[in-house]
């Protein structure tokens, strides 16, 4: 969406990503999504009196990996306490970083050629999760509130962009590219639907060239779609206010996905004084050069580089392939696609099976070797497997591992010998004289009818091209 007249929106994003560590940031509890409430907890992450935090080194490494990928300066840093009362925060303060974040500065180049500056990417701990029952569903006026502390103390990195974004589309591109980077660094699984990546958007509007306008912060956007809709709504709301002669009040706003609107959450004037001060229970964090080098050396290629390589291999990919290409880059599946292209698999097939079949079972991707992927696609391309059969084989390997040829054999996915196919076709012609006479008269649409019937009788073992050859031979 573009704003009317010469209005320009100015957007900065704060992206919170949960780090994919085995344990929490300051204790040995499992960092796992989906466990029964309050089962992954201990004195430390429950903030019991007398307990003390001990920093998870793996969380620091992942934060450094993110910073390295974003061209940040990794600096000696400290932890601070951010003090405020909230029932899902067991200590009633959050351990975060303040004036000395581990990653300072940096930038992210987007596929469209634009550059968004990064102000900082700092470490902090997550809070528990509240569920408010009855009343409004928000904390005030609820009949009863339940708190699950499994998420309390999960390590987070907050990545703060500069106010460089000028459209909701660019915000989306930035968030998607950042998500790809987080996945590539191994820092996050990028699953927005599970809350492992959450976005706050700072939005203001101005006439191009003017000073920055008053901004509003929209909290907790948890899908790219919400991000785009919320920014567009908010920018339009502000333009309407200003054009009506009113002013924008600096405040924190809540996005309601169902209403498609933002509403006031709290006004900035009452704003919270977090009384930040150095966390006395932790020591300074000073990663030495050797450690920084090890993190840098272990980094895998980032999405931009991999996108460039794959795009070049596809030689000007058709527009229809671009979505699949983005999925493949996002999820780091490009090695599969490139190996398939090397083995002369058609680009659309090489992309589609990765972007659909592998992507749908990403958790088990390690079960599928690149060789098996290429072998399966070769069998499909040569006609030895139908498309349905090839998808089944890939699904089976992802779920349980195994060799494509053996799986195809064990499932009885052998190509019908032409004699057997001929018998099936002959039988169908006999049973469907009307359809056959129309096909014989040149109605090519009827080919699909016969293919469907053949597939039904052969349980998908036939190859569509072979069926057409049989039909044409009998016309």
């Amino acid at each position: 969406m573009t704003l009317r007249d010469d209005w320009e929106m100015v957007v900065g994003l704060e992206v919170h990503t949960e780090l994919k560590t085995n344990t929490k940031m300051f204790c040995g509890c499992a960092n796992a999504f989906g466990a029964a409430p309050n089962t992954n907890v201990c004195p430390v992450c429950l903030g019991l009196p007398g307990s003390l935090p001990v920093l998870n080194v793996r969380a620091v490494e992942l934060a450094m990996a993110i910073g390295t990928a974003l061209h940040s300066t990794i600096s000696p840093s400290t932890f601070h306490r951010k003090n405020y009362f909230y029932p899902d925060m067991p200590k009633d303060f959050q351990i975060s970083q303040y004036d000395l974040p581990i990653n300072a500065g940096g930038y992210l180049d987007l596929p469209d050629g634009s550059r968004v500056s990064i102000e900082r990417a700092h470490l902090e701990e997550d809070t528990g999760k509240s569920t408010h029952l009855g009343g409004s569903g928000r904390i005030h006026g609820a009949d009863r509130s339940l708190v699950d502390y499994n998420r309390s103390g999960v390590p987070l990195v907050e990545i703060v962009s500069g106010p460089d974004i000028r459209s909701s589309a660019q915000a989306r591109t930035y968030a998607a590219e950042l998500r790809g980077i987080l996945i590539a660094t191994g820092a996050s699984d990028g699953r927005m639907e599970e809350g492992s990546m959450r976005i706050d958007a700072n939005v203001s509007v101005r006439h191009s060239g003017d000073a920055l306008g008053t901004r509003c912060e929209i909290k907790n956007l948890n899908s790219l779609r919400s991000l785009v809709r919320a920014i567009d709504f908010e920018a339009a709301r502000q333009v309407e206010l200003l054009e009506g002669g009113a002013t924008v009040r600096q405040e924190t706003r809540h996005w309601d996905e169902n209403l498609g609107a933002t509403s006031t959450m709290r006004v900035k004037e009452e704003a919270d004084d977090y009384r930040y001060f150095r966390e006395p229970d932790l020591v300074d964090l000073v990663p030495d050069q050797a450690w920084q080098d090890r993190v840098r050396d272990a980094l895998k290629p980032m999405p931009a580089e991999r996108r460039a390589v794959l795009t070049q291999r596809l030689q000007d990919p058709a527009p229809a392939l671009l979505d699949a290409l983005e999925v493949v880059i996002d999820l780091g599946l490009d090695p599969y696609v490139i190996a398939a292209l090397d083995a002369a698999v058609a680009p659309d097939l090489a992309l589609a099976r990765a972007a659909n079949e592998i992507a749908s079972d990403l958790e088990h991707v390690e079960n599928l070797s690149i060789e098996s992927y290429v072998a399966t696609l070769n069998m499909e391309q040569s006609g030895a497997l139908s498309a349905t059969q090839a998808k089944t084989v890939l699904g089976e390997i992802l779920a349980n591992g195994g060799e494509p040829a053996l799986i195809a054999q064990s499932k009885g996915f052998e190509r019908l010998a032409s004699g057997a196919l001929g018998e099936v076709v002959a039988q169908l012609i006999e049973e469907n004289p009307d359809e056959w006479s129309r096909y014989s008269a040149g109605d090519e649409k009827l080919a699909q009818f016969f293919i469907g019937q053949v597939m039904k009788l052969t349980k998908g073992q036939a190859n569509g091209k072979d069926v057409i050859a049989e039909l044409q031979a009998r016309r």
Partner: protein, 474 residues
Amino acid sequence: MKSVRQTALDVQHGDASALSVLEESLARIRARNEELNVFLYVDEEGARAAANAIDERVARGENVGALAGVPVALKDNLCQTNIPTTCSSKILEGWRPPYSATVVDRLVVAGAVPVGKTNLDEFAMGSSTENSAFGPTRNPLDTSRVPGGSSGGSAAAVAADMTPLALGSDTGGSIRQPAALCGLIGVKPSYGLVSRYGLIAFASSLDQIGPLTKTVTDAAMALEVIAGHDPLDSTSLPEPSPSLVAHVEDGVAGKRVGVVRELIDGADEEVVAAVERAVEVLKEAGATIVELSVPEFRLGLSAYYLIAPAEASSNLARFDGVRYGLRVDAEDVTAMMEATRTAGFGDEVKRRIMLGTYALSAGYYDAYYGQALKVRTLTIDAFRRAYQEADVLLGATTPSVAFEFGSKTADPMAMYLSDVFTIPSNLSGEPAISIPFGIGEAGLPIGVQLLGPGRSEAQLFAGARVLEIADGRP
């Protein structure tokens, strides 16, 4: 009761059973606890089980540890699994920690027998144990007087011969001041020497756990057991426990003792006289005496009363009624938190939370908390300069002997001044020890204080031992 050292030897050699030692301790507690209000909770059953287990191990010929069978009193801000832990506050009513402090685990591994939890000023905020929600503790040496604080219960337990060893915590003098007022040895170790894991925090950057005993050797034995790196405390020094008992008899010959004017000025005459006698004793023992002035120490009290409340305002935020302890129901969660904290905290705790919140607030941070941090840095630098001229520093522990109940409760500033000589060591994170040295006019003990640079505990114990012998306790 016998000393820590003698008790452990008797139990190790089978000359006394841990159970008989414990029964003596429990009998003494029963005899005077009602009068003195020392223990908030006595775990007779758990202690007997522990003592029996030690006796069985002795019978099997096993090594039962350095503190075998020694009954120990724990200040009630130290967590012990499933034992009520209150910090002398109503807000922790009914809470039983699911874990033990590292120091408690280490005591138990060394064969000590925790007998119960002692009274303190609520959340360790105070200098007389009058701020306890469960009533004041009386000084066993004169029940019309306070035992000092905040570790007043722990000091009284040892002074009343209920246990030969107690642990306290020292944030601004809370071990040394009651040790002085009750005629005991009290040690505030170097910051990081003893793990704070399981100590309910008052001011995290100042808190240290330490022993209260009747003899220097007993204190050294206990500190050896509880000191040493703990991976559960990030501020714990990455070193094993130092050798201390072996150095107790090292003496002070050739050492330079700095007598610091600011650690004496303002003290009662009899206290000044005691410090002067201590100077003579150390000189005779071969030390060189250096007169020093460290004006920065005068700023310590003001800095302390900003830094400690600031940290406390954050440390005590978690007592909100949501997860444990007291909950006063109200119409929504914010109102519940307010009602709970209003009902649960005493006046002194509220006063310090408000002070600390104010000191950290936007617009005031630089003038108060930020300024206090600068003074803290000045204090650390001043100590460093002093230690270029002296190996240890000497001064009074407190301005006066034990004072009477109510004499300072109306005036918080007068109470705060009790800590004026002890606070600098907390700000610098360096060790200090209080040793009873002489008796004042009212027949009450006087404490003198030895201070040293970081990790110089062995040297402090050696100096304290010289004073102990000279004071008639060979």
